[in-house]
Symmetry: C4
Subunit: 294 residues, 4 copies
């Protein structure tokens, strides 16, 4: 993280910076950003409710959805403008060129996509099929990621255990495929000629439902031989198919613990550094994390 | 735990204190309290049986339920009165004011709620809808907590791993939501227009049933594309959704082991302390645990 | 284990002792005992097949079952007589009194129950309902335990982790009960008045099927509120209900590892002891394990 | 691994050797071999699609399948000839006798079986039932194993934990059998005389579906007593039945980690050895791994 020290520019912009740039705070989240997070979460709740036919059929609910959508788009638009405005306080993004550089960053683009498409449709009054548009709201997830740094832990965990994950996944795939081929021959080609086992892809659906222990019950062997095979596969195979998930969970947990340790040490360091410098009145103004730039 | 040493007040009240205050014993449980525990457990069994229509339709069973309920309410009322009576032995709760202080403690309130509402209804002979009243019996669980200190371990385990739990839960929620959105578009909007995937909330129900591997089989994808997505989600996602449960289980287990160690050491210490003091005839009279005082 | 050294009594009885007493061998299993194990396993296979109506309806299969049963009963009777006969080589069971002492041991009684009831019925030609009789064949499992010492590991594992197991089970029970009460009110009393949630015991069946992730799909919530509760319960609760199983599995695994270490050391010791004594021509004659005596 | 040093024979054969013998590369995979791997994976995809009736009913898809099969058989035939051709560079397989020795190796036989049967049928134009023939394509899995050495990790993991696996499996089997016998008597013989519990083998199918938590929902107890037993079995038994899978997964994971360590050390050693020798212009020509020679 690049931490730049600026001469403090007193005024609205600086107060705004402290309020909306998450890195300007050592811990916790500012009221404004908490509001943004709440709005994102609410927008996911409303996205879900909006698709429910029993609610969407009622005029009052449609009214509520409409009003909420307008409010959210407006709020995110204002937030975007403010973020671009205060970004100039960071020397890396000052001036017009700096602002453009800021706007091409990953988080800035996500902020834009979180409201622009719906804003355009609203202003233009187009009769666009809204369904496709709604998917774009998933970009709002990235807004959350800004406040929950652990969100990028997902990729880090995969990277940490990639060899083990790859081998475990390969073993699981082989087991699923071989189980499916076996049951295809036993239940689909022979046996009672079950429709659900009439091809290998269909048998793969059974194998995955069984080996992950989901077991919907839409497909299952009915011949004694098929059940015998399925039993052996279930007992022997559950461990193998659960392996990738277990490897990932363990890597995720390790990564999380490590980061917490690093964070605690970093905080201890920043606090002590601050304590030293405070007599001189210097205030560190941390930039946004460099490793997340575009 | 605040251990007060009192001049021993010989008599009924002191013998009762030794019998019904769990902290008056270093280990084990007194016969009276064992009876209370058995009564609580039995009352949960009867609460369950009472709701069963096939039993409730029979007059004999209704008779049994009625008699048992009267007995339990009476027993718990007597127990409550006795507990308030002996509480005075503890200097913190002596006198009328002390008794009131005792009665506002968490456990004392739970003891009261365990019988009072039903007692009032019984005495008044009201025709109150009993169903709502029955829920109040769940307060009897707290009576158990007095004897099984591990019951508050639940909260301690959550606290111990709260950061990890929060991150793991957040990841799980995101996975559930994104899976639901994907299957909503594939199976609900497109595909065979399945009713069960016709909205995101319905698809969330599927996603949770699948990712926890419960798999009731009331909802499942039927299009090839939906099944392909569901397969990938099942294999990749089980580890993520199992993560919060795993984190909690591990914290629970750690907490339990730690407490057992502490308890063993504490007991060893009390025993040796007692051994030292016994010549002077002093008897330690431990109060109820201070950290549980409401 | 009491290891007695006897003057070697050359002859049939000694050779038999070496052949059928498992402790007379340092490792592995004698051909005779392997045959006994195979017979026990086969008898379980036949017990299973015998109950299958589609097989039992065919005269040839009934013939096979009948012949096999006669053979097994005869073989186990012969085995029992031989075991009693050679037991006399062990000073603890020599003479008529010793034999009676041998016959009251746990394993000897199991050996007797493994064939006597069916032998009596066969000889008497009674038309006893065979079904009840068949259950007694489960005693043959104990015959296996003689050769697989790890079978008593089950109890040892429970004992090793009993406090943790008890707490974990109590938590799981509370969760199951509270979940069932919640869904009973939501789906049974209110909601669509589902038959499957019409009482707490029925709701407990749902709660167990869900929280163990078995999810048969015979019972599931259908109201939005019920599904919301069920989702929360599923995600939060799976870890809690899996806890007892996890605790047991871990204790089982620890116990197993420990025993293997002990066994390896013991073997190394016996071998080196044998190597030392062999010049003197002494052959150690180990008795049956003392801790298993009745 | 036997590493022979040969005088470098410049020319096509040597370049081919470097290209297609996986051991000739320290890490990574050559373009040619990547193509072979892709072809094997594609052939499994096509094997699956080919069995799907909805695709196979369309003439265009049949055309695609036919063309792909011809291409794959031809490609694997060419690959086989090339592998035999370049094997001569390895002194162990030089000359006609050496080539025959090469051709009787495990991987070489698998390479042959991967194309020969289908080639023969194609050339002869026989109307052989293709279904049986398709199973032979599973031999192509072994082609993959050449490039993913971790594939033989399966057997190594089983061997590493064989005692624990055996005991865990035995316990699981006993639990499954005893559960099945109990439910057979409760639900099949007594109770509602459910067809699905009418014999022990049928009850075993239920026991496995329940104890592995697959829970298809095709079979479940319906009597109160049966449900009570099933609940106890589910809560107590899941840990036991999951034990073999857990033991295997843990052994698999340990084996994997160990191998990675060994591999990293070996690579470090080879690299440093190369660095030393390079001035003399010697190029090590590693043979195929000796421990895999049939």
């Amino acid at each position: 993280m690049v931490v730049q020290q600026l001469m403090v520019q007193q005024g609205l912009r600086y107060r705004l910076y402290k309020e909306i740039v998450p890195e300007a705070r050592l811990r916790g989240i500012s009221p404004t950003n908490l509001f943004v997070v709440a709005l994102v979460l609410l927008s996911f709740l409303f996205l879900a409710l909006e698709t429910e036919p029993t609610l969407n059929a009622q005029a009052e609910w449609r009214q509520v959805f409409r009003a909420f959508n307008i409010f959210v788009v407006a709020a995110f638009a204002v937030e975007y403008v403010l973020r671009v405005f205060v970004a100039g306080l960071n020397p890396a993004y000052s001036g017009v060129v700096g602002r453009f550089r800021y706007m091409t960053r990953f988080y800035a683009i996500a902020d834009l996509l979180a409201f622009l498409p719906e804003l355009v449709v609203m202003l233009a009054g187009w009769g666009v099929p809204l369904v496709a548009l709604r998917v774009l709201r998933l970009f709002r997830l990235i807004k959350l990621a800004r406040f929950v740094p652990a969100f990028d832990i997902f990729g880090a965990a995969v990277k940490r255990a990639r060899t083990q994950l790859f081998t475990a996944l390969a073993m699981a795939m082989v087991l699923v495929y071989v189980s499916a081929v076996a049951l295809y021959f036993i239940e689909g080609v022979g046996g009672e000629h079950q429709e659900s086992f009439a091809s290998i892809p269909r048998a793969i659906w059974w194998a995955i439902a069984t080996l992950t222990t989901v077991g919907y019950g839409d497909v299952y062997p009915i011949t004694p031989l098929g059940r015998m095979f399925a039993s052996v596969i279930a007992i022997a195979g559950i461990g193998v198919v659960a392996l990738p998930a277990g490897v990932f969970a363990s890597a995720f947990s390790d990564e999380l613990r490590e980061r917490q340790d690093v964070k605690e040490k970093a905080e201890a360091h920043v606090y002590s550094a601050q304590a030293e410098r405070s007599p001189e009145g210097e205030v560190p103004l941390p930039g946004e994390p460099g490793d997340l730039d575009n």
